[in-house]
């Protein structure tokens, strides 16, 4: 663009702004469709962005290197991931002990991929336990774990020792949180080791020998949901198995991959490995997934929702664009005499065309700017209601500015072309 053309452009923009200023109400009404359309796009983007941002943030805490292998029902046909998730949620019957993952499978797996497997975490919720002191009762989650679980979770043992797989198998001993000892047993954590802890699991009283006290670390997501702090009580895996269902196999295990492993491809390898044990099984198989898979499924769902609302926004933008076209046609008619005068003064067709296209673009850009403000505001309000911090999406703001300009050019072209083709004599005579 030459310097002169730039000057011309600036004059056109100033002229367009002046004419907007002269017809404030009309301009605002014209822009309404654009404002609402752009506003909703920005609001959706802001909410969607913050939502997926905070999901990703909280999920990353769970470790992206974790691969969960679980026993799932076989599908009749190739079906997509979302129905797979549904199948797992509404599984009609549960697998038998013989359908579950066995220690032999895990040993084989470990042997086959010794360089890629760091830990295999196994945990079995035995159910929630109740600790009674006088008239007060406290809940704790009784979890059967293997020793690798304690290692993988990097649990800090303050006093006493950890639980060993082989030595402690089927024994009634436990590890408790330091806060549990202090807050509910009313003894200092150091003195808790060696004490006996009597709790009720599923109404049945059990007593456990405390071998260790671990440091409680606050889990933000959990405590936010529960309100009151429920701590984990770790017991040997085999003990938990005996209490809950009496078989020695597992419905799911978590493989923590070694550093430097390509988790995404290892998921497929692990799944293939475990599924090979189930080729002859009629109704059950093993599948592998990671938090990453879950997050991407969630993000996909969010994207679908955004897309749907964006489609509605697009319709609003279309209507807004037609509104702009309409008002530009009115403007061209109103200013017929001015156009005639400009032509008499020597304005070439293209200059008139540019003048009106720029005016339409300016209307759309001002509308777009107002829409961005509205959208960011709405997004921030929505996010604060949901308790997420609002993240403005710079990319979508740039996109939206582009869309506004495109609408201006597209819907401004027809009226502008009409103006540029007016016969100067007719136009001058117009009253």
């Amino acid at each position: 663009m030459t310097e002169r053309a730039a000057v011309n452009m600036l004059d056109n923009i100033l002229m367009a702004l002046q004419s907007l200023k002269a017809n404030k109400m009309r301009a605002l009404l014209t822009m309404l469709g654009i404002i609402i359309g752009i506003g909703s796009v920005i609001a959706i983007e802001t909410v969607g962005n913050s939502l997926s941002g905070s999901i990703t943030d909280s999920m990353s805490g769970f470790g992206a290197s974790d691969i969960t292998v679980s026993v799932t029902e076989k599908e009749d046909d190739d079906e997509n991931t979302s129905s797979d998730v549904r199948m797992r949620l509404f599984r009609p019957s549960s697998p038998d002990a013989s359908d579950l993952i066995t220690d032999d499978m895990l040993d084989d797996f470990r042997a086959a991929f010794s360089d890629k497997v760091r830990y295999i975490k196994i945990s079995e919720n035995a159910d929630s336990g109740t600790y009674q002191t006088g008239s007060d009762s406290t809940s704790l989650t009784v979890v059967g774990v293997n020793d690798e679980y304690i290692q993988a979770e990097e649990t800090v043992i303050l006093y006493g020792r950890s639980i060993s797989n082989s030595a402690d198998a089927d024994k009634k001993l436990c590890m408790i949180a330091d806060t549990f000892a202090e807050d509910y047993m009313a003894i200092s954590p150091v003195n808790a080791v060696g004490k006996e802890l009597s709790i009720k699991i599923n109404g049945t009283p059990h007593s456990f020998y405390i071998v260790g006290v671990y440091e409680y670390t606050e889990d933000e997501t959990l405590s936010a949901v529960a309100g009151e702090t429920v701590t984990d009580m770790y017991i040997p895996l085999s003990t938990a198995k005996t209490i809950s269902d009496g078989n020695d196999n597992y419905s799911s295990v978590t493989v923590v991959s070694a550093e430097g492993t390509d988790v995404t491809s290892f998921i497929d390898v692990a799944e293939e490995f475990f599924a090979s044990y189930y080729t002859l099984n009629d109704s059950w198989t093993a599948t592998a997934s990671s938090m990453e898979t879950l997050v991407s499924t969630l993000t996909e769902m969010l994207d679908t929702v955004s897309l749907a609302i964006s489609a509605i926004a697009a319709i609003s933008l279309l209507v807004g664009g037609i509104g702009v076209m309409n008002i530009m046609l009115v403007s061209v008619t109103e200013r017929t005499k001015e156009i005639g005068t400009r032509k008499a003064l020597g304005a070439p067709k293209n200059t008139i065309l540019m003048q009106f296209i720029i005016e339409a673009v300016v209307i759309c850009l001002v509308g777009g700017a107002l829409g961005i403000m509205l959208g960011t505001g709405l997004g921030a309000v929505a996010c604060s209601f949901m308790g997420y911090s609002a993240k403005a999406d710079v990319e979508s703001i740039i996109l939206v500015v582009g869309i506004s300009m495109a609408i201006g050019v597209f819907f401004g072209y027809y009226p502008a072309n009409k103006a540029s083709k007016l016969d100067p004599i007719e136009a001058l005579r117009y009253e």
Binding site: R4, N8, D11, E338, A344, P348, T351
Partner: protein, 247 residues
Amino acid sequence: MNKPDFPFDDFKLKKPIIQMKNIRKSYYIGKPNQLEILHGIDLTVYEGEFVAIVGESGSGKSTLMNIIGALDRPTEGSYILDGVDIQRADDKSLSEIRNRKVGFVFQTFNLIGRQSALKNVELPMLYAKVPQKERNARAKQLLEMVNMSERMNHQPNELSGGQKQRVAIARAMANNPAIILADEPTGALDSATSRTVMDIFHTLNKEHGKTIVLITHSPALAAECDRIITLVDGEITDDRKGGGKYA
């Protein structure tokens, strides 16, 4: 060219600005209601002349004016404006010719609303791609000439009729055109302001040597001009010397 097409010897050596030969203009060509408005106009106007074209309404005055001002092309005949053949020019060249060679002054002033007097005067120069600084300086100078310096930042709706017309004349002069084409410039003004406007035209003509074509139906105004051309039913019926200013 044996026969002199202009009867007055004192202009013979001057440069012709308007050269029209057998100009015809028809509307609805090829349709049953085809209508010829101008029936063969021969007209030459020389540099520095102040010409009045008079005629009743319906005489073809406006059609002739549109052709002189390069707003329209004749159906037949040849028209050369300041050395440029209008008959052959395309739309783009026509806008350029209007921009550089013709300064329009309208009965209804036709200033662009919401734009200051200064911006209005700058407009033809904007279309001529004159740089901003030069545009601004020349527009101020022209407004000074028509005595409108003090109100140059006012918008048209803040100006009286006479003031608007003075701004319009300054605008017509913006690109130093070959002719000023004024269509009933005093038609919407009272007699006192009409006088002021006519005096500006006389000044432009006498002191700046500007060629002016004035279209009017008023015999009194026409009488002030150097030359009076009468148009009746699309033909020139009379072409005589006028009395000049205050004749």
